[in-house]
Structure formats: C-alpha cells, structure tokens
C-alpha cells in the first residue's frame, strides 16, 4: 500500500509540478485572456459538421467574459492633475507638501522683487487656508476659494499679473 501511495504521489507531483509546462494560467496582474491575446485552442467540433456543438465544446468561457474593472488602482491622473489636487485641499487641513504646488512656476527666475511679492502672496494664501482650517467663518472659506482661484491662475502662468500690484 505504501508503494502504491508513493506511486500516486510522484505521478501527482509529475503532473502538477512540471517546470516549463505548456499551460500558462491567467493571473490577476496580467490582462484577462481573450480571443486576441491568448493562443488559439485546437478545434475538434468544427461548425460545418457539428453546428452549435462547436460553441458548446470549443469556445472557452473566458472569451465572452468581461472582468470587472478594479477601482482605486489608477492614481496616475490624480497625481498629475494639479487642478484636482488643489480643489481637493479646500475645506480641510492644508498639506505642507502641497505648498510648492501653488508657487508660481516661472516669473520668479526673472525678477527678485517679483519673487518676494510672490512669496508674500503665497504666504497669504497659505495663511488664508490655515484660517479656513480653523473654521472661523465662511468668508475664510471664501478666501480659500480665492486662493484656489489664484492657484488656477498660477498654473496658467497668469500669476505674473499679480506682480503689477
């Protein structure tokens, strides 16, 4: 009996432990297999002679299956869209790491005076956000909204117009 069990064990090991096995199983981190991205199966019941039995036997079920799209995995757009990132800040605590996002991108390099103004403006904006965080008044929120608006301008390169003040 032990001999028989050993025989069965080694055959099982042989079957399911083969390295370099022909079969490639789909895994969740790869594209779900379909007719285009998987190797064609050998048809045994051609529809000429077997009619609908072709679909019964020879078409894998995953060819017609649309896997559900996973949510929460695509963060690329959010990171790359500063507009959305800034809007998301409103009404909550400011994130110090986001401060550089609202700094003007280009004019700083041309004029040190403008640079100071911009810094000041930036500081004001930050201050407004802090005020909003405390929830002191709705006008603070308005400041925050204004801040957001200026941030949008920043991103458009229009923040330089503020330097004329």
């Amino acid at each position: 009996m032990k001999k028989l069990l050993l025989q069965i064990f080694f055959i099982t090991l042989f079957i399911f432990g083969l390295n370099g096995c022909y079969t490639i199983i789909w895994s969740p981190d790869s594209e779900f297999p379909n007719q285009d991205n998987s190797e064609a199966v050998t048809v045994y019941y051609g529809d000429i002679y077997y009619g609908d039995y072709y679909y019964f036997y020879d078409i894998p079920w995953w060819y017609d299956y649309n896997p559900p799209v996973a949510t929460g995995s695509d963060t690329k757009n959010r990171e790359n869209n500063p507009d959305i990132g800034t809007l998301r800040d409103t009404g909550g605590r400011s994130d110090p790491l986001r401060v550089p996002d609202v700094q003007p991108p280009s004019r700083d390099q041309n004029s040190s005076g403008n640079n100071n103004d911009n810094s000041s403006s930036s500081s004001n904006n930050t201050s407004s956000n802090s005020s909003s965080d405390r929830g002191s008044s709705s006008s603070s929120s308005g400041s925050s909204g204004s801040s957001g608006s200026s941030t949008e301008r920043n991103s458009n390169g229009e923040r330089s117009s503020g330097g004329r003040k």
């Binding site: 028989l4 069965i8 079957i15 022909y22 490639i24 297999p33 190797e39 045994y44 039995y53 299956y65």
Partner: protein
C-alpha cells in the same frame, strides 16, 4: 471439447468453493468478481457509444473514463442524471424454467468542472459524485429434485459438518438423518446496492494538445444479498427425519435464509493521458490503480424446520458473524482512440485486467489462514481478460441532434469459460443541444450472458456431485441513462 473440459474444471473448483464458503465463511471468489467487474459508467453519451470513451472523454464523465479528458473542457460544466436498471434472469432448474427480475432507479451522477482561464493551454479541476457499479441482480428457481441428495444432507458432509440440521431436528447429534433427497427445492436470491465515488480530478495540457490528468476517488457503497432457500416434502415421503427424535413427525419444510450486508468504503486513483491530433483524432491511455475496498460485513443466517406438529427455529447467533476485510482489485490498463470524420466520430478502446491479482486482506474476524485460502482460490479460478468497446456517433448539425450506437464485451473472469459467459452489451442513444449550452442525452444498453449457480454440490459423505442442485441462468440487463449537461 476444450471448452467443455474447462467448464467442468471451473464447475468442480467452483462447487468445492461454494460448499466451503456457504457453510463456513461467506467470502469467496464471487466477491472478488463482484468488486472487480467494470460498471457501465454514468454518462448517456458514453453509454450510447458502447462506453468507448477513453479516447474521447470531453465532459465531466472523464472522472470515470479518462481524467485527462478534463483538459478538453473549455467551459464550466454542471451535469448529472438518472439511471434505471432492470436485471432479468430466466433460470432453468431441474428442467423447470422461472423468470424473475429486479430493478433499481437512482441518481447516477452529479458533476462540476471548472477550467481556469489560460492564455495558453488548459488547466481544469472537477468534482463528481457518480455511480461506478450497480449490484442489482436476482435468481429464482423451483423444481423437484428426485436425486438422493439435498442441502440438508450436504450440510452434514465432512470434514466440517454444520450443526444446522441438528438444531432443526433434521439430524441427530451424530449427524445422521433419514432425509435421502426427493425434495422440492425452491428459492430466490435478491441482490441490490451500488458503489458510488466522490471523485476529485485535475487535468493539465502539458504540451500542445497533450493532456494528462489524475483522479482521486473516495469510495462509498453498500451491497445486500438475501438468499432464501426451501426444501419441501411435497410428495409427503417423510415422517420423522432425526432417527433419535420421535417428537417431531411429518417433516414438511426446511428453510435457510442467508443475508449478507456490506458496508463499503475505500479509495483509488486513476491516471490518464490524452493526445488530440489536430481535429482528426484523439488517443487516450489510462492506468487504474488498484482499488482498495474496505468491507464491513454482516452475515446473518436464519432458518426453520416445519413439522406437522411443530416449527423449530434456528438460533441465528450461532451461525451469524460480523467481520471486516480489505479487497484489492488489480491494475487496469486502458487504451482507446476516436476518429473525427465529417460529422462521424468512431471510437474504440480496450482494457486489460488480471482478476487473478485480486487480493483479500484480513482486518478483523477472518483469520490469516482463511484469507490465504481465498486468495489461493482466486488465483486458481480467475484469469486475465481483455475488455473491448466500440462506438459511433453522428451529428446532424442543422438540428443539433446526435445519434449513437455501440457494442462492448466484458469477458468472463473465470478460467475456461466459453464466450456465452462473456458479458455483451449493445447500446444506442440520442443527444440534443439547446441554446449552445444545454445538452440532453439519453442512452439504452441491452446486455446478455449466461451464468450458473449451485445450491450445493456434495452428498452427505462429502462426495462431489456435479450439478446436484444447479441453476442455469440466461441473464438480460436493460439499462437507461438520462444525462443533462449545462455549460457556461
């Protein structure tokens, strides 16, 4: 001439065994044959094609025929069905014929198969609960035996005379009886039960179009046999029959009832390979590892003797027992192919198995000597056989209808039996497909063969008498299977 000698040899050995077995132990070669004979499967499509399915096996019934066939499944499958079996036996006993039949209806199979999504190849797992063997059978006989022998006398034969005649006031304490044959003998044997498997299967495409698979079976089942035997003094020949007893007079009837109950469990495994040669043909190969059956046996003997002035009942506990033993069936090697040609599928297969390798193992109650005797008898009486199956299927594509036919032969496992004793089946079936997903299949199989059985084969002195009380049986079996398959 050669076959006649062979049959005579078998009858001699077989009868010796029957006497020994019926008096002392119920275990014998018949049990080995019962467990070793192949069943008819549980798939209507396969049965319609004569069970020639090792080289086809592209549905969940691969759990029975060829586990590698699971690798051909590309859709999930839920399938199952019902079966009906009718066992008819036309028995000739002392030139008197008796027809009798026994039938059963049961859930035949319930299977589920799941193919993993793959970008290449195939990996499929399956779970199946299915009937692998049906024990439904029967014998009934009735005739007047004018010879000077009887079971009462045979029970007194040396070297191991039974106490049954003494207990029933049919013989003295010295095993003397006034019975000398001339009794009407009648009786019936009703057998029922089945072996069912829980099968766990897996198959993988190891190389392009080369599939390998493995089954692991958990076996459950039961077998019940009720043997009723009567000897009646229909011609009113006897008065008292125990020469030392004058109280019991006018002997009328002797009854012996032997009931055998098996509680069967066990396990086995099957390995299969299948190669698909483009869309033209498939070739299959299987190795059925020895099945291990654990038998918990309860053997109960009841009986009575009827006199005009009294009825004496046997003390059942003196002749009944409960034992446990293992039976190992032999390896089975199978090979088959199917050819796909313009809507026709032709299939053929052969299976080799050597019944003489069947082995008993004692667990409790039998004893080492008895087990050795049984195993020796198995070697002496049984032989290797080659079962073969043929089948054809034609699909009418326009209406999704499939027509099938088949033929199969399971040679008798007893040495020297003529071909009349081979189990032969002719089969047919139809299949229909609806909505590309639901398959309905129906199959019928008609089987026929000859057999015989001995109630006893010795006189009171222990001399062998060929055919002393023998039933000659013409057996016919009709089996119907309905299978429904849903693929999605």
């Amino acid at each position: 001439m050669k076959s006649s000698i062979a049959v005579l040899y078998r009858l001699t050995v077989f009868s010796l065994l029957i006497l020994y077995a019926s008096v002392v132990y119920p275990q014998n070669t018949n049990d080995a044959v019962r467990l070793g004979l192949p069943g008819l499967g549980s798939n209507a499509r396969a049965l319609g094609m004569g069970d020639s399915y090792i080289g086809l096996s592209d549905d969940a019934s691969a759990a029975y025929f060829n586990p590698a066939g699971f690798g051909l499944l590309k859709k999930m499958e839920i399938s199952g069905g019902l079966q009906y079996t009718n066992f008819g036996n036309n028995t000739t006993f002392l030139n008197q014929g008796t027809d009798y039949s026994n039938s059963s209806t049961s859930l035949d199979r319930l299977s589920f198969a799941f193919p993993f999504p793959t970008t290449r190849g195939s990996l499929v797992f399956g779970l199946s609960y299915h009937t692998t063997k049906d024990f439904t059978s029967t014998v009934k006989f009735n005739g007047f035996n004018s010879a000077n022998n009887s079971l009462i006398q045979a029970l007194l034969a040396p070297p191991n005379p039974s106490d049954i005649p003494f207990q029933l006031y049919l013989a003295s304490a010295e095993n003397q009886t006034l019975i000398h044959g001339d009794l009407n003998q009648s009786g019936s044997i009703l057998n029922s039960g089945a072996i069912k498997n829980w099968t766990f299967s897996g198959a993988i495409e190891a190389y392009k179009n080369l599939f390998i698979g493995l089954n692991f079976d958990l076996i459950t089942g039961s077998y019940d046999s009720n043997n009723q035997y009567y000897e009646d003094d229909t011609r009113d020949i006897y008065g008292r029959v125990d020469p030392t007893d004058s109280l019991h007079t006018d002997f009328q009837t002797f009854n012996l009832n032997r009931v055998l109950n098996w509680d069967i469990s066990g396990w086995d495994a099957k390995f299969g390979v299948l190669y698909q040669f483009t869309n033209l043909a498939r070739f299959g190969f299987t190795v059925q590892f020895p099945r291990s059956y654990d038998i918990k046996e309860k053997f109960t003997v009841n009986g009575y003797s009827q006199f005009s002035n009294d009825q004496v009942t046997l003390k059942s506990s003196d002749f009944s027992d409960e034992v446990e033993y293992n039976v190992w069936t032999p390896f089975e090697l199978g090979a088959g192919f199917s050819v796909n040609l313009r809507g026709f599928i032709f299939a053929a297969q052969g299976t080799l198995m050597d019944y003489s390798q069947t082995k008993f193992e004692d667990v409790s109650g039998l004893g080492a000597v008895t087990v050795e005797d049984i195993n020796q008898n198995i070697k002496d009486q049984l032989t290797a056989v080659f079962n073969y199956n043929l089948g054809v299927e034609y699909t009418i594509p326009m209406i999704g209808l499939r027509l099938r036919g088949g033929y199969m032969v399971q040679p008798s496992p007893y040495k020297g039996d003529p071909s009349d004793y081979d189990h032969k089946y002719i089969t047919g079936g139809i299949g229909f497909l609806a909505d590309e997903a639901i398959g309905l299949d129906f199959a019928i199989a008609h089987g026929w063969w000859k057999d015989f059985g001995d109630n006893y084969s010795f006189d009171q002195l222990g001399n062998y008498i060929a055919g002393a009380s023998r039933t000659y049986q013409d057996i016919s079996v009709n089996k119907f299977i309905l299978t429904a398959t849903y693929r999605f």
